[in-house]
């Protein structure tokens, strides 16, 4: 980008003392995604206000309720965090393959199969094996199954040229059918008459709450998974290679990068996170595997990942924000008499505006680090 000498931003930059420049450069580099994302959210909320006005309700009341319901009290914060916990992992299932240029939308399938695998693993162990060992084995089983499921979509993409978006979505339907087959067949607890489920985990085998909070450990596991994923993506050669392959597959192949293995590996890792989300649903919430596992976490994860621009660290605040919107959705229904679809309209509006605002990256000179680096 060429910078005109009479650019006002440039003159501001040149007035700053040289010692400040590295700091300003650092800020400029990182401010761009934050400012654009926040601006997009504000524009989205403004558009949504128009919608609320159009149906004859007060946007001010609505935003007050959103704050009260999502973040206004310790109870509301915990409510939002509980709802965010599974989204952290299902968002990673979308974000990691996205860095390789793949659009995986079938995380739901890995969640439900992960849950079934965890419940099946627990059946022979619960009551006899130590609690910690049982939980670890449940997690391994869930991650293995979830990894294979999404890894399959990656494998088909690279080796058979099958579109991974379609295949992962179709695989998720197969997964839900398989879950129903297992839960209503082989793995069914005969005592679960009208709601077919696997045999419930004994209470002492459940993954408990975080001390001092009414939120289960899934939140901590999810945050750790996001941090680990970020480190893998940003600070390891595998992550670097994946990003190269995501930028330009041909270039990566010419460089001799193992694109096939990268795709299979990262889709499998992504799927294992979604599978882990299924295990946490079973071990921390449901106590058994049943049709409630297909609650749409896999699909909401797509939204979270896109809003976070597939940055694993950004997934954390975005998931909490969406958890908060979800938590406040109930209050909006109850107090304003608006239907549940209101929250979907808000989510959809935010999604479209944020995707639209992607086009603004690199358009504002103020965020150009070179501008601040240049000594004049």
């Amino acid at each position: 980008m060429t910078i005109e000498a009479n650019d006002p931003a440039l003159s501001i930059a040149s007035e700053k003392p040289t010692s400040l420049r590295p700091i300003l450069e650092w800020i400029a580099r990182r401010a761009e995604p934050v400012v654009i994302a926040l601006a997009a959210i504000l524009i989205g909320l403004a558009l949504f206000s128009l919608f609320i006005l159009a149906v004859g309700k007060s946007p001010v009341t609505l935003f007050q309720l959103m704050y009260t319901g999502g973040f206004g009290s310790w109870f509301s914060v915990q409510n939002s965090l509980s709802r965010a916990a599974p989204l952290l992992l299902t968002a990673l299932c979308v974000a990691l393959p996205a860095r390789l240029g793949l659009v995986i939308i079938g995380g739901e399938g890995a969640v439900v199969l992960g849950g079934v695998a965890a419940a099946a693993m627990a059946l022979p162990l619960a009551g006899t094996a130590p609690v910690f060992l049982t939980l670890i084995l449940m997690a391994i089983a869930a991650m293995a199954v979830g990894g294979i499921w999404i890894g399959l979509a990656g494998f088909l993409r690279h080796y058979r040229g099958v579109n991974e978006t379609i295949s992962s979505l179709l695989l998720s339907y197969i997964a839900i059918a398989l879950m129903n087959q297992f839960v209503e067949g082989m793995l069914r607890d005969p005592a679960s008459l009208n709601k077919p489920s696997t045999r419930p985990l004994p209470a002492e085998y459940m993954l408990g709450k975080i001390p001092g909070m009414d939120v289960h450990w899934g939140l901590v596991i999810g945050i750790l998974a996001c941090i680990v994923s970020w480190i893998v993506m940003e600070a390891t050669s595998y992550g670097f290679a994946a990003r190269i392959a995501g930028g330009n597959v041909r270039a990566a192949q010419i460089q001799g990068l193992p694109v096939g293995k990268l795709i299979a590996g990262f889709t499998a890792l992504a799927g294992s996170f979604a599978g882990l989300a299924g295990m946490i649903e079973v071990a921390a919430v449901q106590g058994s595997a049943n049709a409630s596992l297909a609650a749409g976490y896999g699909y909401t994860g797509i939204l979270v990942a896109f809003l976070a621009r597939h940055n694993p660290l950004a997934i954390i605040p975005v998931a909490i924000l969406l958890g908060g919107i979800d938590a406040s959705g109930g209050l909006i229904q109850r107090r304003m008499g608006l239907p549940d679809a209101t929250v979907l309209v808000l989510q959809g509006t935010l999604f479209i505006v944020i995707l639209f605002c992607e086009t603004f990256y690199g358009r504002f000179k103020i965020f150009n680090p070179d501008l601040w680096k240049r000594s004049l």
Binding site: A295, D326, P339, D340
Partner: protein, 375 residues
């Protein structure tokens, strides 16, 4: 917000006035004042409130409660059977001051409602589905359910008179006892008209899966069925598809006659308004709510849609005679000798089960004449 605050204040004033009066004149103020006691009641639905089905039936019941004096109603729809419903219950308790909660979906009971009941022992929880067990589940929880298969039996009588092909069809969600009761009752009702009638059943595998429900309905009509009913959360798709293909329909859960006025014979509807106002009036009067509440046609838990124009005079007569029998209570839809569709005897010749028979709760068979399989 303002509206809600003023609402609360009004209720609060009413309540405190009633309390003060009752305190001042204990002899004069009896139950009428108690019936005015402010009470916030929460209803939670798993799907949309206007689904022409399961959730609408509950929402119509909630609307009856809303009209009672002193009641503030809070409702939330589309709440999944996950941690979401736990938090919704807590939110109703903490932010709205609800003291009586009706989580209406079957899957809300274990572990979600039980977890909240343990955490909030002063709040009353009543769950639709009949899972509550004495000694095992806490005293502040309970179940209510209705013998709606009685309604499907009456549907069957109307269907038996309407069918020309002697083939009727049933679109079902899952092969669980409650659904199997309905399928079997529907065929048994039809067979009172003509023992040669058969009923084809198709299981979709999910409670709410519009595309599969439409496919199943079309498949049933293609195979010659000319009266269709269903047990899925929202019968809207089945009713509209069947009527569109020229078949008669019997409704389920709520009244679907507006969707197909010409083709709608009758329907098995929930009458939750009676059940909910019973609970709420007891709660306002400070009486025990009861932990295990059940009933059928006789008890006003279940009702029939008004018979449609397509029902013949003969059909109407048979329907009304049996309905009158059922209203007396103790009518046995399931009585021996009864075989399942594999040829095994499921009810011995000397047995008969009234609507409240415990044996019906674990039904795992399809009776002779039903074409389909539970597995």
């Amino acid at each position: 917000m303002t509206k809600l605050l003023s609402m609360n204040r009004r209720n609060f004033l009413q309540a405190s006035a009633a309390g003060a009066l009752a305190g001042a004149m204990p002899g004069l103020i009896g139950s009428p004042a108690a019936a005015q006691t402010a009470l916030t009641v929460g209803f939670i639905y798993v799907g949309p409130k206007d689904d022409y089905g399961y959730n609408q039936a509950h929402a119509e019941g909630a609307a009856v409660v809303k009209a009672l004096p002193g009641v503030t109603l809070v409702e939330e729809e589309n709440v999944p059977e996950t941690v979401d419903v736990q938090k919704t219950m807590e939110s109703m308790i903490n932010l709205d001051g609800a003291t009586l909660l009706f989580p209406t979906s079957f899957g809300y009971f274990d572990p979600h409602m039980l977890a909240m009941a343990a955490k909030y022992p002063d709040i009353q929880f009543r769950h639709c589905g009949g899972l509550w067990q004495e000694g095992k589940n806490p005293a502040n929880t309970g179940s209510y359910f209705g013998y709606i298969f009685q309604g499907q039996y009456l549907n069957g009588i109307a269907a038996g008179h309407a069918t020309k092909s002697k083939k009727i069809g049933f679109v079902a969600a899952k092969p669980i006892p409650q659904v199997l009761q309905n399928i079997n009752a529907f065929l048994l009702g039809a067979r009172t008209v003509d023992p040669g009638i058969t009923c084809q059943v198709i299981f979709t595998g999910e409670w709410s899966l519009a595309v599969k429900e439409a496919e199943a309905t079309n498949a049933l009509v293609d195979q010659g069925a000319d009266v269709i009913t269903c047990h899925v959360d929202s019968p809207k798709v089945v009713v509209e598809t069947a009527a569109g293909r020229g078949a008669f329909v019997c409704g389920y859960h709520a009244n679907q006659s507006p969707l197909a006025p010409e083709k709608y014979l009758t329907g098995a509807e929930w009458a939750w308004g009676n059940v909910y106002s019973g609970f709420v009036k007891k709660a306002q009067a400070g009486e025990k709510l009861g932990n295990f509440v059940r009933g059928g046609l006789k008890d006003g838990f279940v009702k029939m849609s008004t018979l449609g124009p397509a029902v013949s005079a003969e059909g109407r007569k048979a329907f009304e005679v049996t309905q009158a029998e059922m209203m007396k209570g103790g009518f046995s839809v399931f009585k021996g000798p009864l075989k399942d569709n594999k040829g095994d005897t499921v009810v011995a010749a000397d047995k008969s089960y009234a609507e409240d028979a415990i044996e019906l709760e674990s039904m795992n068979y399809l009776v002779e004449g039903v074409v389909g399989s539970t597995a």
